[in-house]
C-alpha cells in the first residue's frame, strides 16, 4: 500500500503534468473526420498542437475559438459560433469536439447553452454531431481530460438500443486509456480479432495517428472510429475498459445501454495478459489460439533472461496514474524496486502502486528523490531528458510527450509480445549502461584501506 502525498511547493519545476483540455482534444483525435476545438485563446491550441506534432511527427487537426481579451470578458458565444461555422464550412468534419480551457472557465462560459443556441439558429447544424466537455486547465491533468471526454462521447454519441435483448455476441467495445499508443491499439485489435470478435475502439487513435498515408488530404483526422459506429456500440455484448481512468466511460456505457463491462487496469505483464486472454476466451467461447500460447512462452523466457538485469534495480518513475501503475507493477514483478514514483493527478490505483510513497509532483521532485535514494533506472516522458543527463542513469522514455525519439506512436507495452519487447528494451538499456559506465577496474573494489592505488598499479606494472 503506497502512501499518496501531494507536493507542497508554490512553484512547479520541470512539470510532469500537461493540461486537461489537450487530454480531451487527444481523445477527439481518435474519431474519424473529427476536428477538436479548444475554447480559449489561440496559444492554448498552438502549444498543444506543437506537442502532438512533435510526438507523432504527423499533421494534427486542432482548432481554436481564438478568444481575445475583449471576447473573454464579454463572453465567448460569438467566437464559439463563428468557430463552429467556419470549421463546418471549411473543413467539412463529421464531428466537432469542444474542450474548454482556463480562460473560458474563469469567465464561466456556458458552452452547452451556446451549442443549443447555435443549433437553433443554424438549422443545418441542428443534428450535426458536436460534443462539449468542460476541462479547465487549473484543475486535474491530461489523463483526466481524456477520461471525461470519452465518458462524454459515450453519453452523447452512443444510442440506447431499442431492444436490449438483441445484442451481437461477437461485438466488443474497447475503451482504451490515453496511456496506450496507436501501436498498442493495433496489437489489441489483432488479439481480440484472433478470438473471432469484432472490436470497436473508442477512441481509436490507431486509425488516425498511426502514420498511415491517407487516401485524401483532409484537414480533419484521417481515420479513427466513425460517429455512425459509435452510435451502435450499445449493441455489443461486452465492453472492455483498459486503465482505471476508463471506468467512468465504461459505467456510462453500461448505464446508457446495459452493456456489461470488464475493467483491465493493466495489460503489461504476464499475469494481466493471462487474465485478459482467459476473458476473451470465455466471452468468445473459443480456446486461446496457439499463437498466444507461443507468445506466452516467449514472454516467460524474456522474463528469465532479463531478471538478471532488472532484479534489484532501483526505479524512479514519473508518469500519469494509469501508465505509472502499469509499468511500475510490471517492473516490480521483474524484481525491480519501485523506489520513487511521481504522478500528476489523483487516481484510485495510486495506493496500490508497489512503492512506499507516490507523490503528486513534478520532475524536479522525481530528480531529487531519485538522486537522494540512489536510483539507477529512470522512466518518464521526454521531458525527463535533462534530469537523466544530470543523474547519469539509464533513461527509458515512456508516455506522452516523446518528442526527441522516433516511433512514439508504435511503442508497445500491451500483450505478451508488447511486454516481451518492452522488457528487452529496458534490460538492454541497463546492459549498455553497465558496459559504458560501470565496467570493473582494478580500483572498483578497493576500500581505501591498505596501500594507495597508484602504488599498487606501479608495482603490478613492473
Amino acid at each position: 500500500m503506497a502512501r499518496v502525498t501531494v507536493g507542497k511547493k508554490a512553484c512547479a519545476v520541470n512539470p510532469l503534468k500537461m493540461s486537461q483540455p489537450i487530454g480531451g482534444a487527444f481523445a477527439f483525435m481518435g474519431l474519424r473526420g473529427s476536428m477538436p476545438l479548444l475554447h480559449g485563446s489561440q496559444g492554448c491550441t498552438s502549444f498543444g498542437l506543437t506537442l502532438f506534432v512533435r510526438h507523432f511527427k504527423e499533421a494534427v487537426p486542432l482548432q481554436t475559438t481564438a478568444m481575445s481579451e475583449v471576447a473573454t470578458v464579454l463572453g465567448g458565444y460569438e467566437n464559439v459560433e463563428q468557430a463552429i461555422l467556419n470549421i463546418h464550412k471549411r473543413t467539412k468534419p463529421e464531428i466537432i469536439g469542444i474542450c474548454s480551457t482556463g480562460v473560458t472557465e474563469t469567465k464561466g462560459d456556458d458552452v452547452e447553452g451556446f451549442l443549443r443556441l447555435i443549433r437553433e439558429k443554424h438549422p443545418d447544424l441542428a443534428n450535426f454531431p458536436m460534443v462539449y466537455v468542460s476541462t479547465p486547465d487549473f484543475k486535474d491533468a491530461f489523463q483526466d481530460g481524456w477520461e471525461k471526454t470519452v465518458a462524454r462521447m459515450v453519453e452523447v454519441l452512443v444510442e440506447t438500443p431499442k431492444n436490449a435483448a438483441r445484442r451481437d455476441p461477437r461485438r466488443v467495445n474497447v475503451l482504451p486509456g490515453c496511456h496506450l499508443t496507436p501501436g498498442d491499439l493495433d496489437e489489441l485489435r489483432t488479439i481480440i480479432e484472433d478470438f473471432g470478435l469484432e472490436p470497436s475502439f473508442l477512441p481509436d487513435l490507431a486509425g488516425s495517428l498511426d502514420g498511415h498515408i491517407p487516401e485524401e488530404f483532409v484537414p480533419t483526422t484521417i481515420g479513427g472510429i466513425g460517429v455512425d459506429e459509435i452510435a451502435t456500440m450499445g449493441q455489443a455484448a461486452w465492453t472492455i475498459a483498459i486503465g482505471a481512468q476508463m471506468r467512468r466511460a465504461a459505467e456510462a456505457m453500461e448505464a446508457k445501454t446495459g452493456v456489461p463491462f470488464r475493467l483491465f487496469e493493466r495489460l503489461c505483464g504476464l499475469i494481466p495478459n493471462d487474465e485478459f486472454l482467459v476473458f476473451l476466451s470465455e466471452i468468445s467461447g473459443r480456446p486461446v489460439p496457439l499463437k498466444y500460447r507461443r507468445q506466452r512462452g516467449q514472454l516467460a523466457d524474456a522474463m528469465l533472461d532479463a531478471h538478471f538485469h532488472l532484479g534489484g534495480r532501483k526505479l524512479a518513475i514519473g508518469a500519469e496514474p494509469d501508465l505509472l501503475f502499469d509499468l511500475s507493477s510490471m517492473l516490480h514483478e521483474m524484481g525491480a524496486k519501485v523506489t520513487v514514483a511521481v504522478t500528476t493527478t489523483q487516481s484510485p490505483v495510486l495506493e496500490r502502486i508497489r512503492a512506499e510513497e507516490v507523490l503528486i509532483g513534478d520532475l524536479e521532485d522525481l530528480e531529487n528523490l531519485a538522486s537522494d535514494s540512489g536510483c539507477n533506472l529512470l522512466i518518464t516522458h521526454s521531458h525527463g531528458r535533462q534530469a537523466a543527463e544530470r543523474l547519469k542513469i539509464p533513461f527509458h522514455r515512456a508516455g506522452f510527450p516523446m518528442f526527441d525519439r522516433l516511433g512514439a506512436g508504435h511503442q508497445l507495452s500491451v500483450g505478451y509480445r508488447g511486454t516481451r519487447d518492452l522488457i528487452f528494451d529496458i534490460a538492454n538499456l541497463i546492459i549498455a549502461d553497465h558496459e559504458d559506465n560501470h565496467q570493473a577496474t582494478p580500483d572498483t573494489w578497493r576500500t581505501g584501506e591498505g596501500p594507495a592505488a597508484g602504488v599498487v598499479d606501479a608495482a603490478t606494472m613492473h
Binding site: 508554490a10 503534468k17 493540461s19 480559449g40 489561440q42 502549444f47 481579451e69 487549473f138 484543475k139
Partner: protein, 562 residues
C-alpha cells in the same frame, strides 16, 4: 490592465514597423487587437511570443504565472543553445489551481519566486503573465517589485498574456520589458570601440556560433546578444554598446530603435543567411563601429575576411552547382527568412518556384521580388492539396518550410527540409550556407524517394491517393476552363483579406464603382486590409492590375491555386 493597454498602444505606434506604416491612424490604434478568425486561426499567442523572445537568455529563471497549460504543455521546446548555464531550460510555473482563482494567485507567485531564488539563485527571475491571472487581476508588477526589494534581486515582470494578441505582439512586449526593467540597470567592467549588440537573434541550433568566430577574428566583441546565448548582466549593461545589428526582421525593432533613441546606439537591419547578406552585414558592422570611433583599419581587415570567406564559401558550394542544376525549390516560410533564404538558395543555382509571404511585410515582399525577378510567384496560403499538386507537377523537387507543413511534402514522397526554428541544423554565415547545401543535397538525392514513389504491387497506380487528388484538381480545373462563367466566379471568390473575409470580386467591384485609387480608399469601402494589414500589398497589386482585368484571360494556374 490599463498600463498594459497603454504599452500595447505604444508598441503599435512603432514608427520603425513597415507594416504599421501602411495603416491608417484608426487602424494603428486597433493594432493587432484585431479579431483572429475563430476556427481558422493558427499560430501562437502573445505569451508564446514573449517567451520565445526572452527564453534564450540562458542564466535567467523564466517563471510562468498561470495554469499548467501555459508552461506544462510547452516547456523545453526551443532549439536555442547555451554556452553556459542551462537554467533557461528549466520549466518553472505556479501551476495555479481553483483556490488561486478564487483567492488570487499573487501569494503563490511571491512564494514561487522565493523558492526559485533559494533553490537556484539565478541572477534574475523573469515572471510571465498569462490569461487567467490577468483576468482575475493578479498584479504581477507589484509582486515582482515586492519580491525584488525583499530578495535583493531583479524580478522582471513580462506582461504579455496570451489573449492580448498574436506571437508577434508578444515579441515586442518582451522587448518592452527589457527596455523598462533591464537595459541600462548595470554597468560593464570595461568597454571597447568594438562592442556590438545583436538584437533579435536567438541562437537556434547554435547558429550564432557559425558567425562568432569571424567577429572574434576581427576583434569585434558581441557585447550583448538579445537574446541568443545571452546572459542577464550583458543585457543589463547593453546600453554601453557602440553599435547594434537587428537580426530577426521586425520582432524586436522596438528594442533597437529605442536603444538608439535613448542611448544613441545606431543600428542596422541585417542577416547572416546567405553569402551576400553575411558580407553586407559584416561591412555594415565595421562601418557603424568605425563611425562610433573604432579605427579605420577595421574596414580593411573586414574586407580581407570577406574576400577570404566568400572564396571559401563559393568553393564549398561549387560541387553542388552541377547537382542542383535545374532543381526547383518550393519555399514556404514566414517573415524575414523568405528573402534571406531566397538569396542563399539562388547563390547555389537552385531555382525558386514560389515563396510564401504570409508573415512578411511589404518590404520583405519587395525584397523577394527584387531577388527573384518578375516571375516570383507569391503563394500566400496554399492548401495541402494545392501544395501537393505543385510538388507533383514537378514544379518543385524539394520543399523547404517550417515544421508544421512538412507532412504534406513527406507524404507526397517529396524531399523536404526544415528551415524554421525547430530545425536541427544551423544555416548561418558562410559556413551555414555550405551546411544548407549539404542538407539539401542529402534530401534531394536520398534513395528513399525512388522506393516510396513506387505503388504497392497490389495497388492500382491510377487509383491511389495521389492520382485521386490530382484527378480531382484536374477535373475542377477542367470544369472551370470549360465554363468561363464559373471560372470568373471562382476567380472573384478568391479571398484577398483573411481577417475581414473580403473576396477579390467585392474589391474589384468597389474599385470600379467608386473609381478607387488607393489602398486606404479600398479599405474604407470594403474593410479589406482593415485587420492585420498584411493584404495591403495584395490590394496594391489589384489596384495596379485592374484596368486590364475586364478583358484579360483567365489567371495563370498558380494564381488560381492561391
Amino acid at each position: 490592465m490599463s498600463s498594459l493597454s497603454a504599452k500595447i498602444q505604444d508598441v503599435f505606434n512603432e514608427p520603425g514597423c513597415g507594416k504599421n506604416a501602411n495603416k491608417s491612424e484608426a487602424e494603428r490604434k486597433k493594432g493587432c487587437t484585431k479579431q483572429l478568425q475563430p476556427g481558422g486561426a493558427a499560430g501562437g499567442c502573445a505569451f508564446d511570443g514573449a517567451k520565445i523572445a526572452l527564453q534564450p537568455l540562458t542564466d535567467v529563471a523564466h517563471l510562468v504565472h498561470g495554469p499548467i497549460a501555459c508552461e506544462g504543455n510547452s516547456w523545453d521546446n526551443r532549439g536555442a543553445r547555451s554556452s553556459g548555464s542551462n537554467i533557461w531550460r528549466t520549466g518553472f510555473t505556479t501551476d495555479i489551481n481553483e483556490t488561486d482563482i478564487v483567492f488570487g494567485g499573487e501569494k503563490r507567485l511571491y512564494k514561487a519566486i522565493k523558492e526559485i531564488i533559494e533553490k537556484y539563485d539565478p541572477p534574475a527571475v523573469f515572471v510571465y503573465q498569462t490569461c487567467v491571472p490577468a483576468m482575475i487581476g493578479d498584479d504581477i508588477n507589484a509582486v515582482c517589485k515586492a519580491a525584488s526589494q525583499k530578495f535583493g534581486k531583479p524580478v522582471i515582470p513580462v506582461n504579455s498574456p496570451g489573449f492580448v494578441g498574436p506571437k508577434n505582439l508578444g515579441n515586442k512586449l518582451a522587448g518592452e520589458a527589457l527596455l523598462d526593467h533591464v537595459i541600462g540597470t548595470e554597468e560593464p567592467d570595461y568597454t571597447t570601440p568594438y562592442d556590438l549588440n545583436i538584437i533579435g537573434e536567438y541562437n537556434l541550433s547554435g547558429e550564432l556560433w557559425q558567425v562568432k568566430p569571424l567577429l572574434d577574428e576581427l576583434g569585434i566583441r558581441i557585447f550583448s546578444c538579445i537574446s541568443g546565448d545571452g546572459k542577464y548582466r550583458e543585457v543589463a549593461y547593453s546600453h554601453r554598446a557602440k553599435a547594434a545589428m537587428m537580426v530577426c526582421s521586425k520582432a524586436m525593432i522596438n528594442v533597437a530603435r529605442k536603444m538608439e533613441e535613448r542611448y544613441g546606439i545606431p543600428f542596422f537591419e541585417g542577416s547572416f543567411y546567405g553569402i551576400q547578406d553575411s558580407s553586407d552585414s559584416l561591412r555594415e558592422i565595421a562601418r557603424l563601429l568605425i563611425e562610433r570611433g573604432a579605427p579605420d583599419e577595421l574596414m580593411a581587415r573586414t574586407e580581407a575576411v570577406i574576400v577570404r570567406e566568400e572564396a571559401k564559401a563559393w568553393a564549398a558550394i561549387e560541387p553542388y552547382k552541377p547537382r542542383f542544376a535545374g532543381k526547383k525549390v518550393l519555399l514556404i516560410t514566414g517573415g524575414v527568412k523568405s528573402w534571406s533564404v531566397v538569396a542563399a538558395l539562388q547563390e547555389a543555382g537552385l531555382e525558386l518556384v514560389g515563396t510564401s509571404v504570409k508573415k512578411s511585410t511589404k518590404e520583405d515582399k519587395e525584397r523577394i521580388k527584387e531577388l527573384m525577378g518578375q516571375d516570383a510567384h507569391m503563394i500566400d496560403d496554399m492548401t495541402p492539396r494545392e501544395m501537393y499538386k505543385m510538388l507533383k507537377d514537378a514544379k518543385a523537387d524539394i520543399m523547404l518550410s517550417g515544421g508544421k507543413s512538412q507532412f504534406v511534402a513527406l507524404k507526397a514522397a517529396m524531399p523536404w527540409l526544415d528551415i524554421n526554428q525547430e530545425r536541427s541544423h544551423a544555416y548561418m554565415g558562410y559556413v551555414g550556407m555550405a551546411k544548407l547545401m549539404e542538407e539539401i543535397d542529402k534530401a534531394l538525392f536520398n534513395p528513399v524517394w525512388e522506393q516510396l514513389r513506387q505503388p504497392a504491387p497490389w495497388d492500382d497506380a491510377a487509383k491511389n491517393w495521389q492520382a485521386t487528388a490530382m484527378a480531382q484538381m484536374d477535373a475542377e480545373a477542367a470544369q472551370l476552363a470549360a465554363d468561363p462563367q464559373a471560372a470568373e466566379a471562382a476567380r472573384r471568390a478568391r479571398k484577398v483579406c483573411n481577417c475581414k473575409t473580403v473576396d477579390l470580386g467585392t474589391i474589384e467591384d468597389a474599385i470600379r464603382t467608386n473609381a478607387l485609387t488607393t489602398v486606404e480608399q479600398v479599405r474604407q469601402h470594403t474593410e479589406a486590409s482593415g485587420g492585420c494589414g498584411f493584404c495591403a500589398v495584395r490590394l496594391e497589386d489589384i489596384l495596379a492590375a485592374l484596368p486590364a482585368v475586364a478583358g484579360s484571360s483567365p489567371a495563370p494556374l498558380l494564381e488560381a491555386a492561391e
